[in-house]
Structures are given as C-alpha cells and as structure tokens.
C-alpha cells in the first residue's frame, strides 16, 4: 500500500463544536426531557454506573463481613439486607439496563443509520420509569429495606417483617416496564427504521444481539410484572395464592419468577455477546468469522431461554420427568454459546490484533464466559446439582456469567464507544492496567468460590465453619483488588472528560455506521442518509497520522 489515493478533503476530527448532541441544547431540563436517543443513552449510562457503585459498596460490605466466621462488622439481620440489596440493585438497576438501555440506546440508531429510535417519547418514558424504579428502591431503604434475597421467594417475601418489601417490589415492577418499553422500541426500530441497503444480514452483530434481547424483554418481563403484582397483593390483602398455609402454591411463584428471570439472564448476556462480536472484529481488523452463525445463535439463545427455567427448581419438588427435560434443554444452550466462542476465536486467528483496552476486555470476556458457561453444565446436571444447589458454586457460576461476562462486556463496550459518546480519548495505558487488575481480582474473588461451594458452603450464610475461612479471606482480598481496578477505571474516565485528547471520528477502524459520523455525533446523527456497506469489511480503512484516526479510502477500482 505505497500509493494511497488522495485523502478525503475534510477529516471529521475537526467537526465544528456548534453541531454535536452534547451541546445542542443547554440546561438540565434539556437533558432530563430530551427525546434524543443519544442523550437518553448517556443518562442511562450515568444512572447505571452510579447504581453499580452503590451495588458494589454493598458487595464490599458483604465480602468484608465474611472475612471471619460470626460477626465481623455487621449483625446477621443487616447482612441479610445487604446481600439482598447487592443482588437487587445489581440485577434490576445495573445489569439488565446496562447494555440495552445505556449503550444500546446510544449505539443502536446510529449503527442502523436511523435518526432516532421509533418512539422517542416512549424511550424517554422508559428512562423516567427507570428513575422511578430507582427512587422506589431508595424509598424501600428508608422504610426498612428488605431481606428476601433478590428472588423475593414466597412465602418468606409475603411474611417478612422487613418494612421495605412493598416499595422495592413496586420498584422492580416499574423497572420491568422500563425494560419492556425499551425492548419494544428496539424491535420496531430495527424492523421499520432501517435505511435503504441495510438488510437484515448487513446489520452489525450487536444489533442482532439487541434484537434477540428485545424479544426476550418483551416476551418474558410481563410475567415477572404480574407475579410481583400478586406478591404485593398477597402482602396487602393476604390472598393466599402463593401461600402454602392457605392452600396456595409457593412453587408456582418460583415457576413464574424463573419464567422471567431465566430469560433475564440472557437479557444480560446476549447483548454482551453482541458487544464482544463488535470488539473482536474491529480490534482484530478482520472480517468476522461466521457472521450468520453468530447472528442466528443470538436468536437461538433467545428461544432456548424460554424453555429452561425449570433448572432453577431441580430441588423444589418438580417431577423427575420435568427435571430430565429441563436438564437436557439446559445443556443445549451450550451449543449456540459455544458457536459464538469458536467464531470469535476464529476471527482472532490471523487477525491484525490491536491489543488495546476494549480488546483486553473482549479477551477477558472469552476466558470468563467460558469458565462461567462450562460450570453451568455442572449445575444443569441433575445429580451434581443436588450437591451444588444453593452453594457458593452457584454464586461463583452466575458471577462469572453476569459480572465476568455481562458487566465486563459492558465496560469493554463503554471503552469502545467512549470516544464516540464523549468525544474524548481516555488514557490507554491506565485502561489496560485497570483491565488487568479487574481480571485478576475477579478470578481471585470468584474462582475461590467454586472451591467453597464444592466443599459445601451454602450461599447467603452469615456464619460458617472455620475450615472455610481461608477461602473467604482469599475471596474478599480478590474483591478489594477488583474494586481498586474499577476505581482506577472511574478515575481515568473522569479525567478523560476534563483533559482527554479529542477523539477522531474513527479511532479504532470500525466499519459500522457510527464511526462514520463525528465524535461526538451531531444532533441528527447523519446529515445525509449514510451509505450502507458490509459492517465487517475493513479493507478500505487506513490509519491517518494527521488525525490519529482511521479514514475510509476508496480503492481505485471503485473510483473508476
């Protein structure tokens, strides 16, 4: 490539400041009442990261308490409240909205080449619902919090004297509708707002993943909503449908709950996989391997997600036939998941890999998700599950999937799109160091818990036998390491806002549409409808020293 054709006349890195979504309007109302999907995405991101901080503090308190058997810093009642709060905040306020609502809102319409989502007002309403749900959680804290576990199992949740159960359940009900409306918006946007040329198989894989996620959000969440409504009614009016003492059926509650909450696990992981598909392809500068397999495996996971919920109730008195069926179907989820892993690794193979922060997070994801996924098979096996059920093995497994995979992908995606969202570059060196700290800390924390669990330490316990202490101490130390990694991340990200280098339009060499508009994007995303090409064709993208970004250079043949 010695004779490059003429460079484009106006590289986008010197986009006039007058036209970008961050400064288009000023004042707090212009943010809180905005209909712009980018701003709503930013608002979600801020909310989700704040909630992540709060949920993380609860996690640190729980881990610290577990340093010694018996009381370390808090009493048993408080401990029950804290692990419940950690779980509820992390699941409902952080992970579920983190990728679809925060990053998805920002990225989806731009990637698609649309000006906005299909229903901007509904999008804003979703965000306001999210805020209301968060407020309900705070109200619950004020009214005495709750100690039910994030699963709200009946009859305990309908009889506990903790004062904040009703507000938090109302909060989760509201958050559910926030999630439903976001999903509905995304489905319609992807169906109806694709510009000419954007066929289904030219859609970036992140959009396929968001589409599959949205299907789950729309189809599973209403069941959780009505179930939680019944729990509230049961607490207020004592209707007895879930109360065994009144002839009701608590396992019915578990079925309803997991009919949502198992698919909810895929609401967390499928968009994470979508992000990883983008990160791996862009930072390997190589055509994604097996595009259609990755796309369809997202949809396959969405479908499977609806028929495996019974594996949460292997020990709840289900019939053996049901257990066998649910076990078998749960195994089959491994197939589409492994398809993705193999495709990512094949994409890396002979790729021109840029080993930067987003790529490090993507590689961390592959390792952590493989561990999390494979340990899921232990739990899907009926006989081992009887031993491992409700132990720290389960805790370690779902942290590897929810945190080690979903949240790591969220953080990786945040780094990947950070220049696009904020218009600033973060400190790459610190980013790589922080990623390494988080990765090491995470494994020290949770790999230890696999051992704890297989030795029989039950989850959620306040006290434990002295022989478990060494594992608990190691795990807690790991959690401190991980927390310091995240604090470092927060520091350099904030610093980048203040004094970060201006970001070029295309700092990584991505071929999807969002890299064609300026960083940060203009208010209406595209002044003219973008030309849609292959989202993973990197052959025309070349590094431009002057702008320290990638520019598209048409091959001479195309010009002729």
């Amino acid at each position: 490539m010695t004779t490059l054709p003429a460079r484009p006349a106006a590289p986008t890195y010197d986009t006039p400041e007058s036209d970008n979504y961050l400064i288009h309007d000023k004042g707090i109302p212009s943010w809180l009442l905005t209909l712009d999907h980018k701003r709503i995405g930013v608002l979600y991101t801020v909310g989700v990261l704040l909630s992540f901080f709060v949920g993380g503090i609860f996690a640190m308190l729980v881990r610290t308490e577990l340093l010694t058997p018996g009381r370390t810093i808090i009493d048993a009642e408080t401990y029950n409240h804290f692990f419940t709060l950690h779980g509820a905040v992390m699941v409902f306020l952080v992970i579920i909205p983190s990728i679809p609502a925060a990053l998805g809102n920002f990225v989806l319409p731009i990637m698609l080449g649309a000006k906005d989502v299909a229903f901007p007002r509904l999008n804003l309403f979703s965000y306001h619902l999210w805020i209301s749900g968060a407020i309900c959680t705070v109200v619950s804290l004020v009214m005495g919090s709750f100690d039910t576990g994030w699963t709200f199992y009946t009859p305990y949740s309908t009889t506990t004297t903790a004062g904040g159960v009703i507000p938090v359940i109302v909060g989760v009900f509201i958050l559910g509708f926030s999630s439903i409306f976001t999903g509905l918006n995304f489905i319609v946007t992807i169906h109806k707002l694709r510009p000419p040329g954007m066929t289904w198989f030219r859609m970036p894989l992140f959009l396929w993943a968001l589409y599959a996620t949205a299907l789950i959000q729309v189809l599973a969440t209403p069941v959780l909503a009505i179930t939680l409504a019944l729990v509230v009614v049961e607490r207020i009016a004592n209707i007895g449908i879930f109360n065994p003492a009144m002839g009701g059926d608590p396992v019915l509650y578990q079925h309803f709950f997991w009919f949502y909450s198992h698919p909810a696990v895929y609401i967390m992981i499928v968009p994470a996989m979508g992000i990883i598909s983008e990160l791996i392809a862009v930072h390997s500068h190589r055509q994604i391997f097996g595009y259609r397999f990755i796309a369809f495996s997202s949809v396959a996971i969405a479908i499977f997600s609806f028929i495996v919920w019974g594996h949460h109730m292997f020990t709840s008195g289900q019939s053996s036939l049901m257990n066998t069926l649910f076990s078998a179907i749960s195994f089959s989820v491994a197939i589409p998941s492994a398809v993705k892993i193999f495709n990512w690794i094949c994409t890396l193979y002979k790729g021109s890999i840029s080993l930067n922060t987003p790529m490090l997070y993507a590689l961390a994801f592959i390792v952590l998700f493989t561990i999390g996924g494979l340990t899921g098979l232990h739990l899907a096996t009926l006989n081992t599950d009887v031993h491992l059920h409700d132990t720290y093995f389960v805790v370690a497994h779902f942290h590897y999937v929810m945190m080690g995979s979903a949240l790591i992908a969220m953080v990786g995606g945040l780094h990947h799109w950070w220049p696009k969202i904020t218009g600033r570059m973060y400190n790459e060196k610190l980013g790589m160091i922080a990623c390494a700290i988080v990765f090491v800390g995470f494994n020290i924390t949770f790999f230890t818990q696999f051992m704890l669990g297989s030795h029989g330490m039950p989850r959620r316990y306040y006290d434990y036998q002295p022989e478990f202490q060494i594992y608990h101490v190691i795990s807690t130390i790991g959690s401190y390491i991980m927390a310091s990694g995240f604090l470092l991340t927060a520091m350099y990200l904030v610093q980048s806002l203040v004094s970060g280098k201006r970001a070029p339009a295309n700092p990584w060499g991505g071929a999807t549409l969002e890299w064609e508009c300026a960083s940060p994007p203009p208010y209406y995303n595209f002044h003219e409808a973008p030309k849609v090409g292959d989202p993973y064709d990197f052959s025309n993208l070349h590094w431009d020293e002057r702008g320290e970004g990638y520019v598209t250079v048409k091959p001479p043949a195309a010009k002729a």
């Binding site: 509905l184 209403p222 004592n238 007895g240 449908i241 065994p244 396992v251």
Partner: protein, 330 residues
C-alpha cells in the same frame, strides 16, 4: 401506499438539517403535521406505531397469561372448589357484561372505519357508544363486587369471617357449624389486632395432618361430594335472591370444600386486573373523543383510533375467556 408517496418526496425535500427544529422533535411538514422528524413517510410512521401496538398487546397477553396459568394450576389442584364456588357467581350479570363488551368492540371497530373515512360525527358517536359500553360494564361489575363483599364472597380470611352489625366476629358461634374448622386462637382475634404473622399463617385453613412439605397438597375435598348438593345450592341461589342477598350461605354449608377462598382470590385478581384495563380503556377513549371532536382524525391520520381499537379488542377478548372460565363451570 401510493397515496403516501408524495409525502415522502415532500419530506425528503424538506431536509433534515437543524434549522427550525429547536430542541424538540417537532416537525414542520405542512401536509402531514403529525409526521415525526425521524420518519420518512406517514406510511412508515403508521406501520411502526401499529407494530409497536401489536408488541404491546403481546405483553398484555403474557401479563394476563401468567394469571391464566395460575388459574389452571389452582383449578387442577382443587377442581371441586371451582365447581362449587362458580355457582355463587351471577351468570346473568356476567352474560350481560359479555354482551355489553362485545357490542362496545363493534362500536369501536365502526369508529375506526369512520375515522378512516373521515366521518367526524359518526366517529364521535361511536366513541361515545364504546365509552357507554365500558361504563356499563364497570357499573355492573361494581354491583357484582359489592354484593359479594356483602356476603363474604371474598379472598382470604374474610371469606370465613361473618361480621355482626357492631363489627364483632361470630367465629365462636360459627366454629361448630363451619365446614372449615377454626382454631381457638381465631375466636379471640379481632380485625383490628391481626398481626402480620397471624395473617400470614391463618388458622382457618384446613391442613391435612402429616403434610408438612412446602407444596400444598391437593385437596381431597369431602369424599363423594354430591353434585346434587351443589345443584340444590345453586338452585336456591338462583331461585331466591332475596334471602341470598342478606346471608353468606357458604358459611353454613357443610359441603363447602376446603380452600374455597382461593377461587375468589384468583377471581378478584383476574377480573380486577381486567377491570383496571377497562378503566384505562375509558381514559384513552375519552382522549380520543376530545381529539376526534377537534377533527384531528381523517383518512390521512387515524393511527390513535386504530391503536386504541386494537387495545379495546384485547380487553374484550380477555373477558371472553374470563367469563366461561369463572361463570360457566359445570
């Protein structure tokens, strides 16, 4: 949609640059003032709205679906409860309500047609008729509910608790006759001092000895419960509403199977949720009446009427399932 093609061209000519848009998503298309800025054509906007509404209806189906599953589980576990308790529902009122709702669906569908054809007066009349149907449904439902409250056909504890004029309980007197034995503790319990714990584990429910698992046992029901008894009750109930109106017949009925309160729990849960949807429907139909009165709907733009129509039909459809499942058992 060839009729809409000029709109697309017009819009494209309008351009998407910033001028005049301000902070809002307002659009200044003279021909199609309702067209939002991020859509290219009215057809695209209409199709998007319609797809969104259908997805919302899917969530509604799932929302009610969980309750239908709950109904199925309870009915499968306590078949005799459902056969027995259904006789206490007033089939006539339920039937009238079914007819009223189906008619209101018809007027709604006609309203959509009149909106599409731009006949403003006919549209407003149809919307008012639909509103009247919804209101009529709620009025009848109100009488059904209040009557049942009066005779203790309610959920949970109240189902077993007759209240005297001064508000005291007659439990002690009742306990000898009641089909479901009341524990001694209950005789001293007054409504005002019920603790959360007592509410959670009420003593009035019959638990077969030895069944201590978390899973409720299938109720055996009174062995060989004679259908004749139920029929007689039902006949009495139908034939003599005057006496029925003042008494809680089930309290003295030896044939009442255990856990009959669960029928009313699921009955109120499902019909209550449906009633809330009717009320919401009345709200949005009222909003349509206002907008239709202003002449905002016509052949070019009738999306809200169409979407509310879809919503109204699903509310109707849910009732069409609820009616036989509760009122027409046996």
């Amino acid at each position: 949609m060839s009729a809409h093609a000029p709109a697309g061209d017009h819009h494209a000519a309008d351009g998407h640059d910033d001028h005049g848009h301000g902070g809002g998503h307002g659009h200044h298309n003279a021909e199609y003032p309702f067209l939002a800025h991020h859509f290219e054509t009215p057809a695209q906007q209409f199709d998007s709205a319609k797809l969104g509404m259908w997805l919302f209806l899917v969530t509604e189906v799932l929302f009610f679906g969980a309750l239908f599953v709950g109904y199925a589980v309870l009915r499968n576990r306590y078949p005799d409860v459902f056969t027995y308790a259904s006789a206490y529902l007033d089939t006539t009122l339920g039937g009238i309500n079914t007819a009223v709702l189906i008619l209101s669906s018809l007027t709604m569908a006609m309203g959509v047609y009149f909106a599409q054809t731009g006949r403003k007066t006919a549209l407003v009349v149809c919307l008012w008729l639909t509103m009247a149907g919804a209101a009529g449904f709620m009025v009848i439902k109100y009488f059904e509910y209040t009557h049942k409250f009066h005779v203790h056909l309610v959920w949970g504890e109240g189902f077993y608790k007759p209240v005297t004029d001064d508000g005291g309980l007659q439990s002690a007197e009742l306990s000898s006759k009641a089909p479901v034995p009341l524990a001694p503790a209950q005789t001293t319990m007054s409504a005002g001092t019920v603790t959360a714990q007592q509410l959670a584990m009420p003593a009035f429910v019959q638990m077969p000895a030895g069944e201590q698992t978390a899973i409720a046992p299938p109720a055996a029901g009174p062995a060989g419960m004679a259908p004749a008894v139920i029929d007689a009750k039902a006949a009495e109930h139908a034939a003599d509403p005057a006496t029925h109106g003042d008494e809680a017949l089930h309290l003295e009925d030896a044939a009442m199977p255990p856990n009959t309160h669960l029928f009313f729990a699921i009955y109120y849960a499902m019909t209550g949720l449906h009633g809330i949807h009717v009320l919401v429907g009345m709200g949005v139909i009222g909003w349509l009446i206002v907008r239709a009165g202003r002449g905002e709907f016509g052949p070019k733009y009738y999306t809200p009427v169409d979407l509310v129509g879809l919503y109204w039909h699903i509310v109707d459809l849910v009732w069409i399932f609820l009616f036989p499942l509760f009122y027409l058992i046996d």
